[in-house]
Symmetry: none
Subunit: 190 residues, 4 copies
Amino acid sequence: MKLKDPDKIHIIYTATLKLVKNNGLSALNMAAIGKETKLGMGTMYGYFKSKEELINSLFKRLKGLNTNRIYSVIKPNAPFKLSMKDLFDNYIKNRVDYFEEHFFVEQCSNSHFLDSESKKLDDAAFVGVFELLDKGKKELLVKNIDNTIITAHMMGSANELVTMCMKHNIKINKAFLNQAFSLCWDSIKR
Amino acid sequence: MKLKDPDKIHIIYTATLKLVKNNGLSALNMAAIGKETKLGMGTMYGYFKSKEELINSLFKRLKGLNTNRIYSVIKPNAPFKLSMKDLFDNYIKNRVDYFEEHFFVEQCSNSHFLDSESKKLDDAAFVGVFELLDKGKKELLVKNIDNTIITAHMMGSANELVTMCMKHNIKINKAFLNQAFSLCWDSIKR
Amino acid sequence: MKLKDPDKIHIIYTATLKLVKNNGLSALNMAAIGKETKLGMGTMYGYFKSKEELINSLFKRLKGLNTNRIYSVIKPNAPFKLSMKDLFDNYIKNRVDYFEEHFFVEQCSNSHFLDSESKKLDDAAFVGVFELLDKGKKELLVKNIDNTIITAHMMGSANELVTMCMKHNIKINKAFLNQAFSLCWDSIKR
Amino acid sequence: MKLKDPDKIHIIYTATLKLVKNNGLSALNMAAIGKETKLGMGTMYGYFKSKEELINSLFKRLKGLNTNRIYSVIKPNAPFKLSMKDLFDNYIKNRVDYFEEHFFVEQCSNSHFLDSESKKLDDAAFVGVFELLDKGKKELLVKNIDNTIITAHMMGSANELVTMCMKHNIKINKAFLNQAFSLCWDSIKR
DNA sequence: CATGAATGAGACTTCATTCAT
DNA sequence: CATGAATGAAGTCTCATTCAT
């Protein structure tokens, strides 16, 4: 009895990320995934009942993975600013190290492929930052501004900085991270 | 390309923006534009030799319009911080007032539709900010950080804030603009 | 301006009937219809939004046509038995002359293609027979048996007779029709 | 074809009948049979070398079973009309009791699945009726009409009556059987 | 042997583009 | 020149059959 190979899902995911990175989501097609994975068309449909499901499934997985990775650096009892710095650095590092994944997620966000469940997924990622910011506020370290606004400000900044680095082929080193964080810190510190 | 009726081009552009706003770029198709504009397929192909050309043409036009609109508020001899605030407010106002256009541009940015010419267009938009920032640095008002970084930081922040407002249906008023700007100003001021 | 050619619907219908006659409904495919009609795949989808719709549309059309053809021979004031004979002969003639159509209808009846609307269509065809039978009963010519039963009996007989003739390649002539009708008449007459 | 476990064949047949009853022959597929029988695909292909063979095999079996069942009621020396009535009642009872089987057979009759051998099978079923009719003719009880025609008339009537009962959810009782037979008897009696 | 995952040919359907009217 | 019907390549998906376990 041949068991459904759980690896195949991963293989399909990997091929999908690669193809989207190279050609964009709109050029993604099942035949290409089949060729890249060396799987028959039908095999893929054994794991995902449609192209749409494959995309949404991968999207959700990446969102989850990413949230976990980002918060993995937070040490419960570390001082606030240090936590913030770790989180910020890690967030940026993530955007760079998992460029393919973020590219895929971004492409999906602008597509008609996402189902309503996928669309809701963003919110979960914010919970951790909000908690941290609340702590900072309690310690009188952070301005008394709505968490949503602060978060949007910092994440927008971080995202755009990474995009810029990618575009201009700038290597992200410690100095850059420090500079980037200092901008954010100065804006939110009390 | 016979540019006999510039009106028709405008009609096509408008329909395209509307359709992309409603269904996303990936769902845009020529038949839909034909229906929306009440033009025959052939007519549209008289003005744009392909779907790709239509998209790139509109993209470039919007990029140009947007750059002009953004910088239109700068008064040559105004004090730096005031110029910065005007620019920031105007930038955000623009994102909101011309939401359809920005939505289209964003969708295009991550698509395989853009030709190399279109992809280069971003840079032009930065020149004005860079000049202003140089002035601020000369006046010792702005941190001595690379313009690209500062700009990415501020624009990223502004974009994300608008996205957030759109998502949570937050009305953008003076108080909000002041708060958003204060975040940015604190981060770049010396 | 090229107008949508109403002939094409007919051409598609004809090709469909021919193909189903030759290979059965389950072997019917859009490519074959395209080849037979010499139309592009897309053209057919301009007239029918799916294979299913094409089948249901043709099915309904044939049901309607057939009902009309069958009752076309009834002369309002003709004596009952004569009307009955005309109807019976005509019904059988129809099954033979429009064999292709009846074959298609039968194949559809046994398929998962029919929508609920199509499935309801049979009843309409019975109304005319029922009215005639009521007249026969009033004139004390027909047994006092439920119309549905009488009709099923006669139609079942007629259908099977035609099937038999088709199978054994029997030519249907006046003698045959008389014999077939006499069987039916003897069974219902009072 | 290793006929190691005749039970499995029966299981496959039963599942096939159920599936065809529920979804029609055109929707029948091997995976569904596998699921219903809880047998692996390969196992089924051990018993039937193709879907076509499975269908034909079941078809032939049912035809045989049915013929046997129908004639099982005939008592060699019973009077003609009684034999006829028994046969008729039994025929109808069969159509109802083994509805699934008859439904399957009917769906097959108009499909491209049947091989030439299967198609010939009808004739065998007629032999018994023909013999009985010959006896009736000899006894001057039956009109001197071709057996094929009489048989088609009666069977067509019976089949359609059952179909009608199924459709309108009419329960078949003695009264109904008597009425139905009287129609047929009146038509063939001399 | 039994299994059911894997296969891929072939079916349905879409849509950018062309071209007869 | 405008029109929109027609086109067919290319995409999504199904399912009878095979074959590694």
